[in-house]
């Protein structure tokens, strides 16, 4: 039964998006033609790639795709750099603490995502708390323009998605034997080297999972670039949303979605493969 | 006083409760059960014995209904049961892990099967109480499985599986998780309960001591086949193959070509200084290789050469002291080691033999069994 449900509400909509991407824009409501009312055959008769061509012609779109890829990639790296030490510290913590630490990491996740991103608006604005704090300790004399730039978007993505990075890495690290580093040191390795040569490769599965869990949704992010980014920050999710609601150009929006999906297929498949490999290792 | 011996398998008129006829079970390419035919009779305490992978658990699961034979037929009380789902068979199973429902109390666990049958409330109540009494768990009815000890959980599993008074009870390695002392007590309890209730028990185990203690008949299995199915005495004293002889207890095997030297008597040249004689009701062709299986306790150990046939000289290589018995490992000139076991009728310090002593081991012509495989 869920099969049926998913089939209708998931697969078929995709087919529709694809179809609409191929059709023409119109001023009527719904703003595309031909519609289903004209009959199925009519629907499929006027398909063309006009919209896709339009996408390649207008600079905005492919720039947005590239920019999204760049931002998503950098954010993922940043999240990894920040998240790994935290996950590691959690995995090394005494057992009684672990449950509480877990809870503390998960708690923000249950809080509204929108609200948490919104909180940064107040902090990063020119009269916001960060600037005032830096001003107060004399670190700067001019307020930093952070809000409405890409930097704010990076901060926002890292902030929102860091639990998704921490949890898989923590899970992978927790399974490791604590005496591995000691064994390496016993054999003559320096502590840092032991970490690099042993722990990191063994937690690879968790790292990969975490990166995908951040990269894939970040690519299509909408809320964070809208609230924290400026007009200069191009992200495809934002473009899609605006294309849809502001410009009311549904066919183009659909085309945008289709391309985004195609870009995402490879990471999604890689992610699934990694998960399967992880399960084999465990099971 | 005449004692009636319980031996339905020897009675040509008796109808078996369970009948396997040429049953084969395949999992893909792997043959778990290979053309197996067996009859089990009512009120038997039947043991399926063998190493892991021999197919005994598969046989049990087929009886319970969790697997179906690939070919061949199985019948219960004369009715073909292939295809009947487990919840519709008059067969109940006691699981190795006990499989007690953790969220239900002991009382509810036992009552579960009866409830599924829609048994009337007062009948159900009486029956559960009866089961609690049978397994000495009257005080624990309200508790949950995690609130009782391992031995008690085992009794709950037993009570639960007997509650519906099934025709056949299957026990999957039921005593594996218990420590030795508890295991021995429980073995006798199981036998008592089986006799009291008159249920047919089929037990699966890899512990041959257990099988020999509780069972009325034992089936020794290997690689999906039954090698021998007989009473414990027959299995021990008259195994039909080296496999069975070796599987149960300790045994010495002497191998070599045989020659008939009289009626039902053969001489076997096992590479010792002289061949030895053995009586056998099997016929062997001249020169064919046979194996003589002798139990250590049937071998006598002496300082001087004793009278009678079958004496070999050797040196005491090792002594295994087991408190009540000692097993002497005697090495023969041809390198073979013979185990001779005697009760320690004298205290250790006064032991007749010790390491490196030259000794003679001997046995009578009827002490062993001559086997062809």
């Amino acid at each position: 039964m869920p099969y049926l449900w998913l089939l209708t509400l998931f697969l078929i909509p995709f087919v529709i998006v694809f179809k609409i991407a191929l059709s023409d824009a119109a001023l009527a409501i719904p703003p595309y033609m031909p519609t289903m009312k004209d009959g199925l055959s009519a629907m499929f008769s006027q398909l063309d790639f006009e919209n896709f061509v339009f996408l390649t012609e207008d600079d905005l779109y492919w720039k947005a795709y590239l920019s999204s890829l760049k931002i998503a990639f950098i954010s993922t790296v940043l999240t990894l750099l920040l998240g790994y030490p935290i996950a590691y510290a959690m995995a090394r913590a005494p057992h009684e603490w672990r449950a509480t630490l877990m809870m503390l990491i998960i708690l923000p996740f249950w809080t509204s995502f929108l609200i948490r991103v919104y909180a940064w608006v107040g902090i990063l604005s020119t009269e916001g708390l960060l600037n005032r704090f830096l001003f107060w300790i004399g670190a700067i004399s001019e307020p930093l323009m952070i809000l409405n730039t890409s930097t704010a978007v990076y901060i926002g993505i890292v902030y929102t998605y860091i639990p998704f990075m921490i949890l898989p890495i923590y899970a992978a690290l927790e399974r490791l034997d604590a005496s591995l580093i000691e064994a390496a040191e016993d054999l003559g390795c320096s502590r840092v080297k032991a970490f690099w040569l042993i722990i990191i490769p063994l937690s690879k599965g968790g790292i990969i999972a975490g990166c995908f869990l951040v990269f894939i949704p970040a690519l299509g992010e909408f809320v964070i670039p809208s609230l924290l980014g400026g007009s200069g920050t191009l992200m495809i999710g934002k473009v899609l949303f605006e294309e849809f609601f502001s410009n009311r150009d549904w066919p183009v929006a659909s085309a945008v979605a289709v391309i985004l999906l195609i870009i995402l297929i490879i990471p999604i498949i890689l992610f699934q493969r990694n998960e399967q490999r992880q399960q084999e290792v465990e099971g | 006083m005449v004692e009636t011996v319980f031996e339905p398998w020897a009675d040509p008129n008796a109808d078996p409760l369970i009948s396997f006829k040429n049953v084969t079970k395949r999992f893909g390419d792997f043959v778990a059960i290979d053309d197996l035919t067996l009859d089990i009779f009512e009120r038997e305490f039947f043991a399926l014995l063998g190493p892991s992978g021999c197919g005994k658990t598969t046989m049990m699961r087929m009886l319970a209904g969790f697997e179906n034979p690939t070919s061949g037929s199985m019948s219960l009380s004369g009715h073909d049961i292939a295809g009947i789902p487990p919840n519709k068979r008059a067969v109940n199973m006691m699981f190795q892990s006990y499989a007690l429902f953790p969220h239900l109390s002991v009382w509810e666990n036992i009552a579960f099967g009866l409830r599924r049958d829609g048994v009337a409330k007062d009948v159900l109540h009486a029956r559960v109480e009866e089961m609690l009494k049978l397994t000495r768990l009257e005080k624990f009815g309200r508790r949950k499985p995690h609130q009782i000890s391992g031995g008690q959980r085992q009794r709950v599993a037993l009570a639960r599986s007997l509650a519906k008074a099934p025709k056949l009870l299957l026990l999957d390695e039921p005593l594996g998780a218990l420590d030795k002392k508890l295991r021995q007590e429980t073995q006798f309890e199981l036998m008592d309960i089986q006799e009291q209730t008159g249920t047919t028990f089929v037990i699966v185990t890899h512990d041959q001591e257990e099988a020999m203690t509780v069972a009325s008949r034992v089936a020794v299995m290997d690689e999906g086949r039954i090698i021998q199915a007989a009473t414990p005495e027959k299995i021990y004293e008259a195994p039909n193959s080296v496999y069975v002889a070796d599987f149960i207890g300790d045994v010495n095997i002497l191998t070599g070509p045989v020659k008939a030297v009289g009626t039902d008597t053969y001489s076997l040249d096992f590479g010792g200084t002289e061949p030895m004689t053995a009586a056998s009701d099997r016929t062997f062709a001249e020169g064919v290789t046979a194996h003589l299986a002798i139990r250590p306790e049937k071998i006598g150990i002496h300082a001087e050469r004793p009278e009678g046939p079958n004496s070999v000289q050797g040196k005491v290589l090792d002594i295994a002291y087991l408190g009540n018995l000692s097993t002497y490992h005697v090495q023969l000139p041809n390198g073979q080691i013979i185990k001779a076991q005697t009760a320690n009728t004298r205290r250790v310090s006064r032991r007749a033999f010790t390491w490196e002593d030259p000794v003679w081991v001997s046995w009578s012509a009827t002490a062993g069994v001559l086997l062809d495989r």
Partner: protein
Amino acid sequence: MNRLSSFNVVSLTFGFAFLYLPILILVIYSFNKSKLVTVWAGFSTKWYGELLSNEAFLDAAWVTLKVAVISSSLATVLGTMAAYTLVRGGRFFGRTLFSGMIYAPLVMPEVITGLSLLLLFIGIGMDRGVMTIVLAHTTFSMCFVSVVVSSRLATFDRSLEEAALDLGASPFEAFRLITLPIIAPAVVSGWLLAFTLSLDDLVIASFATGPSATTLPMKIWSSVRLGVSPEINALSSILIGLVASGVIIASLVSKRNSVRLRLEERTAERL
């Protein structure tokens, strides 16, 4: 190893500070008399008052709650069924497609799922409103529920089900009386997950809704587009407070239960 190196301690403190500071700041400023974040004008609860008397907000909150409860309950039922099929189904026709459809929404950007759902609704001529939001939320929540439940089902001891069958229960009875009660905690956490996701969703709701229905996140969104709004601060603090107390109570309860369980087991062994 029971003592944390100083590096680890620093990582942890910094990490948690990073996570929680913005939230704390939000809460503090919800009590700020002044509208601006920059100036602290004194302690006041007036924004809470304004918030609670704002009809539009209360309506949106009510709609959001309704949608969340209905969609998460539906999603839990469907997700559990899906999990059961995935874990126990073995190989059946179209299995790869099915499992692909279950796992895809987890990683797919919301804009895509939102857009495609909307186009479907238009395509079949469905009136958009509360109903469509419920449908949309159920669809993607179901996938999350199924992940949670299937991971529990995978470790479930099947001999318990076999024992139930052996004692005379039909397969459905075995599921209802034995499996379900035992996996209940996973099912409940699935429900909670679906509930939170629904409560918090902005993008999909925006796509799937009609003129009559506005959810709380949508309302928040329209307010904050223009900048910091003190009523939103107040609202945020309320939500955060609710969530925090919920999580803390839940973890205290589960801790107490596990302690009690361990105590019972230990006394049982001594008997």
